[in-house]
Symmetry: C2
């Protein structure tokens, strides 16, 4: 019995962040899987708590928090001493985690956002091979930055333990792989990915529809 | 004498967030104004600490934090008991602040991002009045959500005191006004704006180039 309910969709990076934080903090919750295909984010259950009609939508007793990063910060604060600490209490260590945590948003925003919408809509812009190549180059440049960070870090994206920076970074990398990214071109990211894939919180939250369906090959040349 | 240096650009919303947090936390810092026109974000001073060549770039002794939200979180954590508290210690109050803090990103992302790039590039898409109207409607719908939040809040975006949610929300509203948004159509946001404009931290960080130049009228119909 729990007062915490999370509405989530399979394969959604923001939902995955929230679920990773819930698992890492060892919070019991009632997960309600919605269907994007059936437009259930606009259904009455979600809309009751989230007028934007989006997931994640998270209810914790009389608290409602819906933005994925807000959910993560909220859980870390409320369950400070429970489960794994995601934000170090040492100020310098925390600075590194905070920097990488928010910087990870660039991997989507700069590296993927425009391209993914164009790919999903089969945009005529991408008929031009040069345009596609340029977009993939931007993604590749972004990945090279992270490849460099992982060269000097110690197994995780911001040091030697799993932190909020990994909560933000890992789902994006897994999403890129699902879209066809070949990690052998990025050996440090590949090692990181292979290490994290077997982590209990990651296994417990792996997008279920990814298990028995194939992804795309869109990013094979990135 | 201070060990804290912030490189910033006038009119940059992310820079403004960092500066508001510095002022609210009463942190002494050496502000270094860069010119976007002269491409100084790619100059050696910034690039030394921020390989992305962006501002804000923040150095605090041997700590480097460059993402604006990371800077704000870092300052709130390091200067927990100094200046104004930006994140409440009560878990329920904090949940409200965190929700609005991150939700404010939607005001830019959903309401303005596409439109502002099209306007700046004088995009042919906007020649079609229906397209322009549709874009302004999306912005207006987003603003109406916030107008509603301010109806039930108590003067600030997440309650009765200035918090991290205001650090995120206020600079965006001011930017919209600079682009021609007529706040009389949004009386709660207008009241909020008029109240905050005289706040010492806001006055101290007002974009200097806004003082003696006029803005745009792009959003006058939003």
């Amino acid at each position: 019995m729990t007062d915490s309910i999370l509405w989530w969709g399979s394969g959604s990076v923001p939902c995955w962040r929230a679920m990773l934080a819930l698992e890492e903090k060892r919070v019991k919750y009632d997960g309600r899987l919605i269907s994007f295909d059936k437009n259930e984010t606009k259904g009455p259950d979600v809309m009751k708590y989230n007028p934007r009609g989006e997931v994640p939508t998270f209810v914790d007793g009389d608290v409602v928090v819906n933005e994925s990063m807000a959910i993560c910060d909220y859980l870390e604060f409320k369950y400070n001493d429970q489960g794994n600490r995601l934000l170090p209490t040492d100020v310098k260590e925390r600075a590194v985690v905070l920097q990488r945590q928010y910087e990870a948003l660039n991997l989507f925003k700069k590296g993927l956002e425009q391209l993914i919408y164009e790919l999903m809509e089969d945009s005529p812009d991408l008929q031009d091979q040069e345009t596609l190549k340029a977009r993939l180059q931007v993604l590749s440049d972004e990945l090279k930055l992270w490849e460099g960070y992982l060269q000097t870090s110690e197994g995780y994206i911001a040091g030697q333990s799993f932190t909020m920076a990994d909560v933000m970074f890992f789902p994006l990398v897994a999403f890129l792989v699902r879209l066809g990214l070949q990690l052998k071109k990025y050996p440090n990211i590949n090692k990181y990915y292979e290490n994290l894939v077997t982590r209990p919180s990651v296994k417990a939250t792996w997008p279920p529809h990814w298990v028995d369906s194939v992804g795309k090959d869109w990013l094979k040349d990135a």
